[in-house]
């Protein structure tokens, strides 16, 4: 039970991190993460970097779908726009520091365009519209050869800031991590602000929200805008990290993966976005380790493992959602409540 936890100033009340314990925990986490990255192998760092980028993307879609209730099944389209914009801009000579935010902005414009139908459409119909958007972007990436080099894909130069080339996994971590941290903090604050509250109101009962004076038009569009900006940045980061992009990197499957991240992580929760992004990135890798354990004793299983991997992957996703429909965030909250109420667990 929290006790002795009272605020004596307005600043304390609206602080992002409320208690000393949380501050200390986050501090330890950050320090150990940086320490880990300094000595770990490239594979682990790659996974961490991917998770970080995925976090930015999943924060974006969670803001749109989890907080504002606007279903988006075409999120990969925004990622693609961000990735290609950043790649093309850096190729045309723009420095990375300019290209990346510009790519985010271009993605934002796309987001606004896609957001316009959202004013009239809801639920499944909006989902289908966003899906069509994703499909159109993929098709354009494939056919607009003069711009995107078509199906062959484009090489992307590594991120370069003031002459430092972020071309190794370790260096890239130090680029991505502050960006991700900033993205998290910004989203967290946004959600606590007037805009965030308006979004949640729209999600819960948009007609009622309109009645109390929330401008649906403005807030739905802003939700699309912020969400696609995040996606654009994430896309740009992926492009400069993998140093190669092609239309197949942004197909429907990717949109579905991002949806999975926020559903498994927890809709409408910042922490859930992080959980979901990490979970969905790490799970396939974790499953890959299983055949290595089995290789000694059950070589045949290790051979056929690829299909079993898929089966396990699908099964884990299904069971996860069934056992805790509120996702990892729901489980986290349950754990927190359990600790807080212990020994009075009921």
């Amino acid at each position: 039970m929290r006790s002795g936890d009272f605020k004596t100033s307005y600043a304390e009340d609206i602080a992002l991190l409320q208690t000393t314990l949380i501050k200390v925990c986050i501090g330890i986490f950050v320090i150990s993460l940086i320490g880990f990255v300094l000595i770990a192998d490239k594979y682990s760092i790659y996974i961490i970097n991917l998770s970080a980028i995925a976090t930015i993307g999943s924060l974006g879609i969670n803001l749109l779908t989890g907080f504002t209730g606007q279903i988006s099944v075409g999120h990969a389209g925004f990622l693609a726009i961000g990735a290609y914009s950043s790649a093309i801009l850096t190729k045309s000579g723009f420095p990375f520091l300019v290209a990346l935010p510009l790519a985010g902005l271009i993605s934002t414009i796309a987001g606004l365009l896609v957001g316009i139908p959202s004013l009239k459409l809801k639920g499944l119909y909006l989902a289908i519209t966003t899906f069509a958007f994703g499909f159109i972007v993929e098709h354009l990436a494939n056919s607009w050869i003069s711009l995107t080099n078509g199906a062959q894909g484009m090489e992307v130069s590594p991120a370069n800031i003031f002459g430092i080339n972020f071309d190794t996994d370790k260096k890239f971590f130090f680029l991505v991590f502050p960006l991700t941290a900033f993205a998290i903090i910004f989203a967290r604050n946004l959600v606590r602000s007037k805009t965030g509250r308006a979004w949640i109101a729209i999600r819960d009962r948009d007609i009622a929200a309109e009645t109390i004076g929330i401008d649906l038009y403005r807030y739905k569009l802003s939700s699309f805008a912020v969400s696609s900006f995040y996606a654009g940045i994430a896309g740009g980061l992926i492009a400069h990290y993998i140093q190669y992009i092609g239309p197949t990197h942004f197909e429907l499957l990717v949109s579905v993966q991002y949806l999975a991240m926020i559903i498994i992580g927890g809709l409408g929760s910042i922490l859930g976005s992080i959980f979901g992004a990490v979970f969905m990135t790490v799970l396939p890798e974790f499953l890959k380790l299983i055949p290595d354990l089995l290789r000694g004793s059950y070589p045949i299983v290790a051979e056929k493992f690829a299909d079993i991997n898929l089966i396990l992957y699908g099964l884990i996703i299904m069971l996860f959602v069934i056992i805790e429909p509120k996702g990892l965030n729901g489980i986290w909250n349950n754990v927190k409540v359990y600790w807080r109420m212990w020994p009075y667990t009921h």
Binding site: T65, P117, K120, L121, L124, Y125, A127, I128, T129, F131, A132, F135, I136, H139, S143, I207, A208, L252, V256, L259, A260, I263, I264, L267, K304, A306, D307, I308, N309, L310, I311, L312, Y313, G314, L315, I316, I317, M318, V321, I322, P325
Partner: protein
């Protein structure tokens, strides 16, 4: 003999009808589940593929005569549909719709792995159940399997129209789709209806899978056709069963006509985006589709 121009047109329409029938069957299976349970089934394509492979198993690996193999396939897939519903979807009644959709996504991955594990990834030939020689009349050619597809789809339309209008089960399903609470109050076992709708949808999916594999090849990648479901159900109306079928057929025909007449003019590429152009047009003009009911939200 009809003139070449009309002959070409009819040829395109006929092929389009066949392809459209496949889309229609996929859309039908999808809409049945959606109407009864509000679930957006991402795994519809994989159910199709599973049904086709199970039938292949009965015919080729167990040497069961074709008709019996078909019936056995229907029974097996219906059972699989019901068990799936019982295990994975019943616990989710009342949970947010997103969670349910995610389970269908997980299910589609799971089924992909199962099919790959059991039958591998080499291209197989689905055993022909009709003659392989094309039939030609008045200068137009159609292959028997395409004709069978069209006919079977027509039969399905009639069966389902009758089922939903006149049979007790059908009316009960419509009631549940309309208003779950009222149905419960009227004594309809909503649970059983859910299971039934998954079973029926699985059977329809396996019919579609068998037909598609006969027209093209038997391979796990066939589940890809599931994407065409969206334009079809949007065109027809998300909660309309005749709409889904009609939507699929229209898209198949229009696609083929576009491929035949517009593609040569612009150097190709129009055929594959036709379905999505239709989708966008419908969304802008009449979002609830040809037969869908406009949802009036009550405050």
């Amino acid at each position: 003999m009809i003139s070449e121009g009309i002959g070409n047109f009819l040829q395109l329409v006929l092929s389009g009808l066949a392809v459209g029938s496949v889309y229609a069957i996929v859309a039908l299976g999808f809409v049945i589940i959606y109407k009864a349970t509000d679930v957006f089934n991402f795994a519809q394509g994989e159910l199709m593929t599973l049904g086709a492979f199970i039938c292949y198993f009965f015919i080729v690996q167990l040497h069961i005569p074709t008709i019996w193999a078909f019936l056995l396939t229907f029974v097996t897939t219906a059972l699989i549909g019901m068990i799936t519903e019982e295990l994975f979807f019943k616990p989710l009644v009342g949970e947010p719709i997103f969670s349910v959709i995610m389970v269908t996504v997980g299910l589609s991955i799971f089924l992909k792995g199962v099919v790959g594990l059991l039958w591998g990834y080499m291209i197989k030939k689905f055993p022909a159940f009709v003659s392989e020689n094309p039939i030609s009349f008045a200068g137009i050619v159609i292959s028997p399997v395409h004709l069978a597809t069209i006919i079977i789809t027509g039969i399905l339309i009639v069966i389902f129209a009758l089922f939903f209008k006149f049979s007790v089960m059908g009316i009960a399903m419509r009631a549940v789709a309309n208003d779950q609470d009222a149905s419960l109050l009227m004594g309809i076992s909503v649970r059983r209806i859910f299971g039934l709708s998954w079973a029926i949808s699985a059977i329809v999916a396996s019919i579609g899978g068998i037909l598609l594999s006969s027209i093209t090849i038997l391979h796990p990648s066939s589940s890809f056709v599931g994407i065409k479901v969206f334009p079809a159900v949007v065109l027809g109306g998300l909660d309309s069963i005749p709409g889904a079928i009609l939507g699929g057929i229209i898209i198949g025909v229009v696609e083929n006509l576009a491929g035949g007449y517009i593609d040569p003019l612009v150097g190709g590429g129009v055929k594959e985006i036709t379905a999505f152009v239709i989708l966008i047009m419908i969304m802008m003009i009449r979002p609830f589709g040809l037969f869908g009911k406009e949802e009036i939200e009550r405050v």
